[in-house]
């Protein structure tokens, strides 16, 4: 399989105030939210990032999406460095996170055309892609309804469709099924499988073990900013469930840290 993502010692440090230092009991004036994380992902693979809240998953994804700068290390996205060629990286990725939202005053139709325009997609190609994606997500009847008036599920479907308006090689989804009902969550899961089948690489962050077991080829476990384990689901879980394996690793890691 072709290597499409190569994360090398990616690190993100945030400055701390004296008050924060005291409350976190950290002696240095900075805090490593992501601490020398390395992993690879391949074409047609779904790679899952698993970890508790505050482990560094979202920060890692933000760095891969070039929204924030890495303090150390680098990552090659389809051969482009997130540090040296952020524009090329953005051209190659689709990024979906609950923190980045669509303007509630506009319709899915407007948003799709707007983002296609921003990404320089020719109008005819954008129109065909919109038709396909809106049909795939059942957004047709809601295409001209303002985002603010849509249900949570339809908002997420619209966000999904718009995040991949440019047909990227890699899609990075942070908690894509958060807050969704089971039916919409299933639609999202099925779509991620379709992306995988079509040869796209998916980087997925989620707390839902079932989603990881059903979708991911490999899983990386991040705890306290460090990648503590990374392998295929069967290799990681062995005879146990992924959930049991995770808590086993989590307990060991946190005890060691204490």
């Amino acid at each position: 399989m072709k290597e499409i993502l190569d994360v090398r010692n990616l690190t993100k440090k945030f400055k701390l105030t004296k008050k924060q230092q005291e409350s976190k009991n950290i002696k240095t004036p900075y805090f490593a939210a992501v601490d020398h994380v390395s992993f690879k992902s391949y074409e047609g693979e779904v790679f899952g990032l698993l970890g508790p809240n505050g482990a560094g998953k979202t920060t890692t994804m933000r760095m891969l999406a070039t929204l924030i700068n890495a303090s150390e290390g680098d990552a090659l996205v389809n051969g482009h460095s997130i540090i040296a060629a952020p524009l090329e990286v953005r051209r190659n990725i689709g990024f979906l996170t609950n923190e980045l939202k669509l303007d509630e005053f506009f319709t899915p139709n407007f948003h799709f055309d707007f983002f296609a325009n921003l990404r320089g997609i020719p109008a005819d190609i954008a129109a065909r892609r919109k038709e396909d994606l809106f049909a795939r997500f059942g957004l047709g009847p809601y295409a001209d309804v303002r985002i603010g008036k849509l249900s949570q599920g339809n908002k997420q479907k619209a966000s999904l469709a718009i995040s991949i308006v440019h047909d990227p090689a890699i899609v990075i989804f942070d908690e894509p099924t958060n807050g969704l009902d089971v039916v919409t969550a299933k639609v999202v899961m099925d779509f991620l499988l379709e992306l995988k089948k079509s040869g796209k690489s998916v980087i997925l962050s989620t707390h839902i073990f079932g989603l990881l077991e059903n979708l991911c080829d490999r899983v990386g476990i991040i705890i306290n900013g460090k990648m503590v384990a990374c392998d295929t689901v069967p290799n990681l879980a062995g005879e146990n469930s992924l959930e049991a394996m995770f808590f086993d690793i989590y307990n060991k890691t946190t005890k060691e840290a204490v």
Binding site: R62, A65, T66, L67, I68, N69, L87, R90, R91, F95, E99, L100, K101, L102, D103, E104, F105, F106, F110, F114, F115, N117, L118, R119, G120
Partner: protein
Amino acid sequence: MGNVTLAVMKKEITRIFNDRKLLFAAVILPGILIFAVMQLTGMMTQMIGGIDDDHIYEIHAVNMPASIRAMLSADELQLNIIPATLADAPRIRQDIADQNTDLLLIFPPDFDEIVATFDPATAAVPAPNIEIWGNSVRNESAEARHIVQTMINAYHHSLTHRFSINLPTAEVPDGNFDLATAGDIMALLLGVMLPMMFILFIFTGSQALVPESVAGEKERGTLGTLLVTTASRKQMALGKVLGLLFFSLLSALGSFVGLMFSMDGMMPDTGDLLDNTGFMDIFSAMDIALIFLIAVSLSFFFVALLAVMSTYSKTVKEANAVTTPLTMVIMLGAMGGGLISSNSIAFALIPIFNSSINLTAIINAELNTLHVMITIGLNFVLAIVLTGVVAAMFSSEKIVFD
């Protein structure tokens, strides 16, 4: 202009057009409010201090000599001379105190004869005295005193001086030799008021829109969605600023129209000036073009300045709190042009103040071409630099995601 700039600009314009509440609050409401407030102010001014045009002043006169009576009888003065006796004086004074009548004049008996023979160099007794009783609280009484005193002073001067200035004549019975036209009076008022209000309107128009559009995008999480695309930060910032500039100008225009319509109510004494003296009678096409260019460049500068402050803020509330004190600075600068008149180039280099000076100069027909060009150029340069700052801020993770 890049594709991204146009797309973002179009989005900003569509966004505000779609938000009817914001559109009404930022573009239409200021004009309506200005009109309403000015009308109300005008009505109150008239209620408090106005005198009806056809008011006939009641002048009670004891021993009024023929010479003075002749002077005060001109129809234009609108004085009703009511003969009275010394015995009536206490009652009339009480009426004046009660604001029921306007004025009481008490002359010595045989005033004309005494004045004709009186020689201040040889006289053993004081000169004859005229008592003028009025009530300064009552506007009609104060105005009657002013008219009568002006006429008597003129008579006094004609008796004691070798020559006189502006004595009433048959042609000018009210002694008003001021040839200022309604247009001149209007231009004077506009010269003082308009630059300040014009600049403030442009600023408040921008202030209503920019925090919501820039800090609002951060607060709603929609700015990050834009930043994850391949669009250039510079073009994105420029598109945002230009889209907001469009509405800022619309807002300024709305306020300006409101002000023009409201002048009638605001200035009761020159109430019908605007009906007779149009904008085009005061300003040439070149003046209007320069005013427009100043407005555009100043709006651009304000929008970019507010965009920097709003990008720095985390929420719309914070942005409003940060930009509100700026209003005071803008007001000071906007007032400057009406208070200080100078051709110094140094003044053309002080933002806001330079626009105020130039607007005043245009209104007073004292335009300095170099000044106005420097002002417009400086506004554009500052706006472009500040737009660049916004673009740089869009690239700062601390500012966008903190």
